[in-house]
């Protein structure tokens, strides 16, 4: 068996909304695969289908060699899920939480206790074994949440936004742990909306937007898509931002996108094609009597890939998370 995961036109519709739209891809055994996309793009829905928590509307998928619809029990035996919401009971201790799930996976008592101790040691949580989870910090909770998915030594581990809401230190810890897990031979599928995370962790990245995979390759190759096409990216700080300048840039031939920084409205990011892109941009700004403070030539990032593919910035598309969680719920009518 070459591939850990294979999907064939996997589709999930919630009423009229296509949350996942005919996704076909494969994840190799031992690979660290990432889904990158804005919230609501369909990352979680895809993972939930692969974990047998949702039934696809059409299409199919094989996880660890088993069909997710016809053999869900077999799939479940081979996978571990680190969900975006922590799967833990605050009133139980770390040990009690781990024991419960170990029992549900049918682990023998003696082996279970060894396994719990081993995993707790792996994340340096031995001394918190008998403390109720509710007293933990978010970072500590997430450590337990992650090892909870590893009790039965699954072949494939799914991590849905595992660093969401963590402080920088805990984020780093989780990322390192994911890498460690992968080097020990576990296939890892991770979702994130942070480019940096996908860039540094994943062997291959599937960029997902509006339920569709818009690109799938290694980080290096994805970035080549831009440089290979002779696209230059400039970060320009204007002295005084004017809408006329932005509009002029947008309508100039050879400039594919103009995006304003969220932190500073005077800073814009411009994608331009062609050898004389530098001159085109400066001419356009001058034409509207704009003044340039600084202008930097940037190396392409995954963010730029996303911009090129969708015409939007990743951060632009941040929709509210509640909607992303339960897209099947129709918005309530307001009277």
């Amino acid at each position: 068996m070459e591939n850990a995961i294979e999907t064939f036109s996997l589709t999930k519709k919630f009423k009229e909304l296509k949350a996942v739209d005919e996704i076909s891809l494969s994840v190799k055994k031992g690979e660290l695969f990432g889904f990158l996309g804005p919230n609501g793009a369909g990352k979680s829905t895809t993972i939930r289908m692969l974990c047998t928590l949702l039934t696809p509307t059409s299409g199919s998928a094989k996880v660890a060699g088993f069909d997710i619809v016809r053999e869900p029990e077999k799939v479940r035996e081979h996978i571990g899920l680190v969900s975006e919401k922590m799967i833990m009971y605050d009133r139980l201790t770390a040990y009690e939480n781990l024991r419960l799930f170990g029992k549900l996976y049918g682990l023998e008592p003696s082996r279970l206790n060894d396994k719990i101790d081993e995993l707790l040691a792996l994340v340096n949580m031995e001394k918190w074994r008998d403390t109720q989870i509710g007293k933990f910090s978010t970072g500590m909770k997430q450590r337990i949440n992650v090892i909870r998915a590893l009790l039965h030594e699954p072949d494939i581990v799914f991590l849905d936004e595992p660093t969401l809401g963590l402080d920088p230190h805990a984020t780093k810890e989780v990322r390192e742990f994911v890498q460690k897990l992968n080097t020990r031979g576990t296939t890892v599928v991770i979702t994130t909306h942070i480019m940096y995370e996908a860039d540094m962790l994943c062997h291959r990245i599937g960029i997902i937007d509006k339920g569709k995979i818009v690109a799938l390759d290694t980080s290096k190759n994805l970035k080549k898509m831009i440089s290979g096409e002779d696209v230059s990216i400039f970060e320009i700080e204007l002295k005084d931002r004017k809408e006329e300048i932005i509009n002029e840039l947008k309508s100039t031939k050879g400039i594919s996108s103009v995006i304003t920084s969220l932190e500073n409205p005077n800073v814009i990011k411009v994608h331009a094609n062609g050898e004389n892109s530098f001159d085109i941009i400066i001419d356009a700004i001058r034409k509207q009597k704009g003044k340039i403070v600084t202008m930097k030539d940037l190396e392409p990032t995954l963010e730029d890939v996303f911009i090129k593919l969708t015409g939007r910035e990743l951060r632009d598309s941040v929709s509210d998370k509640v909607k992303a969680h339960r897209p099947h719920q129709a918005p309530k009518r307001i009277r």
Binding site: C51, T52, L53, L54, T55, E73, R76, E77, I79, L81, S83, E84, K85, M86, I87, M88, Y89, R91, L92, E96, L100, F101, K103, L104, Y105, G106, Q132, R148, R326, H328, Q329
Partner: protein, 411 residues
Amino acid sequence: MKRLLRETAWIAHKDLLEFSRNRFAVVMLIVVPMFMMLMTGFIFPSENTLKDTPVAIVDYDKYSEDRNYTVMFLDTLYSTNNRTNLFVFSNAETENDAKKCITRGDISGAIIVPEGFSSAISNNIQTNITILTDQSNPQVSLMLSSIVSNILESIGEKISTMKVAKMLANGTEQQNGTYNTNYNTNSTLGKAYAIVKPYTVKTKSTVEGTTNYYQFMAPGLITMVVMMSVMMGLPRAISHEKEIGTLDGMMVAPIRRISIILGKTLAQSARGMLQGTIILLLAVFIFGITIHGSIALAYLLMLLGVFSFIGLGIVLTSFASDEETAMMVMTAIQFPMMFLSGVFYPIQQMPWFMQIIAKFLPLTYAVDAMRKVLVLGATLEDIFLDVSVLLGFGLVMIAIAVPAFKYAMAR
């Protein structure tokens, strides 16, 4: 099968462990039924509610020459009250004074003895006593007038018995043949009393002991709490876990879906039965009810109640997408069931259309059976109809629930 049971047991164990760590919830387990019993128990006035009730006496016969019977009347009234402590008596000069005191709320009622009361009785003329009540408080006023009338009438009976006894002793013309010269002997008094009151009425129940409202309510409350724990607790527990995301952890484990439901049901039933037991103990040791039936049968009934509501609980779980919806649906079902199933009020007291609704509620049958078992000492044979209805309802609901749950879980 063994695996299913083990998984079920572990999920139930988890739920109960979680619950036992929640100290507030554990305390509420005892406090809530206690509150319910206290409140519902005291809303219904019983003789216990009338204790040291302030009542005024207006004696218009105070200045009459013949006061024998008035004095006797008042003495009897006072001595009766010394035994029962129902009232605290005060004196008022006139009826208007008494009315004013009632309006001010100083007294709850007044007893008015008219002028010439004693002489009227002496001369065998019918006279009257007025009871003045406080209309702003109909419950107390009703209790007061019925208790005071009872006392006054028994005093009246005593007076007439004495008079008849005197007649029997003096008037040979009424009784031909022998008679006793001493009218005060017991046999004459007995005879006289028999003439005054030709028969007495005695209420006898099928079991010994006195009944109080708790005797009526406790079995109903036990049944309701146990059954509701499954019907309400199950959707609440599952939708809560769905909301906080922990349900995914169980769903993604290689266990059968049904063991999640079974485990939760087991935990909820255990909690319900524990609460039922607490109510039973409270009822016996604090509210003084007597249990005449078999405790084992009572617990069997609780289990049957749980069984009949499992299906309903699962159906509700399947349709409640989040905790808030679940709670709203619960409340909508709980309230009519609580009040129409004869837990607090007898069904016979309800208007006809409510009685019809009550006939369709399974809780009605469970409450009825439990009451018969605990209060009347009924056997399984006596409650056969109730038991069959509950079993039938349970089976039908489970038949609906299983496909509904499967559908809901695969969304």
